[in-house]
Every structure is written in structure tokens, then in C-alpha cells.
Subunit: 136 residues, 2 copies
Amino acid sequence: MSSTIEKKCKEKGVKLTDQRKIIAKVMSDANDHPNVDELYNRVSKIDQKISIATVYRTVKLFEESGILAKHDFKGGKARYEELNEGHHDHLIDVKSGEIIEFVDNEIEELQKKVAEKYGYKLVDHKLELYGVKKKT
Amino acid sequence: MSSTIEKKCKEKGVKLTDQRKIIAKVMSDANDHPNVDELYNRVSKIDQKISIATVYRTVKLFEESGILAKHDFKGGKARYEELNEGHHDHLIDVKSGEIIEFVDNEIEELQKKVAEKYGYKLVDHKLELYGVKKKT
DNA sequence: GTAGATGCAAAGTATTTGCGACAAG
DNA sequence: CTTGTCGCAAATACTTTGCATCTAC
């Protein structure tokens, strides 16, 4: 059974090797935002021989192909997630590191307006909220 | 004449060495968002002997003291700017790398609301817009 | 005088790359 | 077949750190 990422590779003409299929599957199955180390760990459980260099090369390739999104949240390591039509931003729990995905169309609209105001066309954006859980 | 950052150091009880005074002045005078390399270059023109390690240590200290803000824009290297009362976000020209600062209170408010909605108190945020200049 | 700062070079991280062997289309 | 990919280890880029020396307060 081929993963959703695998399908996207075919659409985009990205050559599918065994290694890429495994990385594609692991990322398609992931519900979180793994960094390269974590991804390498998961991938290694399926195939011991895959090297970390290949993981780096593959996430970069997938990112350039618009299949994965790369995030540089605070903390150094880049994190990746599958890119779907439904765009979303992130709310990060500064205590636990938990990441919540959210969408707010009002904010999206305002961002476009701000860009317009300065004579720009918005091509990308990054919005991260950092918060602490409220006592209930 | 002491720089605005120098004043803040005194307020916050940060010890002022010659090196720190120079770094403070360069950052106070900067109208852009230099990365450590650029900062080191500017600082070196004033005092050849300052080491890059000191620059790294100082920006980190200033950041922890709430004097400088650190940004991880796309492109790898961390960039710094003086932190003033007036908070602002950034609109980045993806072609030229030019950075425009902006404030939009409506967006700020909505961010708080989003965090609330998920049971969080907003403690920090990051908003970066990436755009291309429109033809006029 | 003393705790903390500096310079230097060495050590860490995270990521990229050269190269010969190998595999997908 | 041929072009691109892989694994490995070495290289790179950015940042941090141990240690002996020095300096602000």
C-alpha cells in the first residue's frame, strides 16, 4: 500500500527508491512534527541500512518538491511535516513542547492586507504562538 | 556618549566591559538585523581584539536579559535586533532579503484569542511574512 | 579582592558533500 | 544503458565551552 507522499512523488516525477518509500511512509503516518533524528530513528526500525545522509537528502528533496514543510521552531533542529492543502499554523506549549495545529482565516486575511499595505504580494508566512497552559 | 543598550545594561545590573560597550553601541546604532558574523565585522572595526566567542556570549546574554531579540529567519544564521517597548513583526522581501518592520494590533489581538481558545496564555509569538514586491 | 569576563583553540551540533558502488526508469 | 541515488566518512557552518588570564565593581 503506497503512502500519500508516495503518490505525490509520482505526480511530481520524483524518483521512488526503496529508501524514499520508507521515509515517505513514516512521514505520512506521523501525526507529529519529527526532526531529522527522530525521523531517522523511525526509519531505521524499518530498514537498518538507511543512512542519515539519505534522510537529510530526502527531506530536503521533498521540501523542494512541495511535499513536506520545514519548520524552524525554537530549539535548533528543523522539524518536518507533510504538507496538505489545508494550511495551518502552530501553537507551541513552551513547557511540554506539545504542538497544536490551528487555522484562523481572519489572521490569514489580515496578513495579506499587511503585505499589500507595504506593496508586497504575500508568498509565504510563518506564524508560531508560544503559550503556557492555563489553570482551569 | 553611552548607547541605549548600555543604559539598559545598567538598569538590569549587567556588568559593562569594554567589549560589551562596543557591542552595545554597534547594536544600538544598527538599523538592520545583523547576524553574528556581520556584528563581529562591525565590532572588529572598532576593536580588533574582540573575539567572536565574546560576541556570541554577549548577544546571548543580552537576549536573556531582554535587551536584544533573536530571530531565526530562513537562511540559517540567527539575526539580532535591539528590543524596544514597541513590539513589531517582520515582512521579508524574498528577492532582496530586505526586512520591513510592521505592527498590526488586530493580528496581535487575534493571536491572543486563538491561544485562549485552546486554553493557553500567549507568552511569545513569531510572525514573519514573506513577500515579493508588486509591480506598480 | 573576587566573581565574573575574555581570548584562544578545541569541541559540539546540525547539516552537507565527494566519491565509488549501485539501482530506477 | 544512463542518470541519479546511496552509504560512508570527511567536511562544513554555526555556536558553545574549558581553561588560564585579566578586569569591573
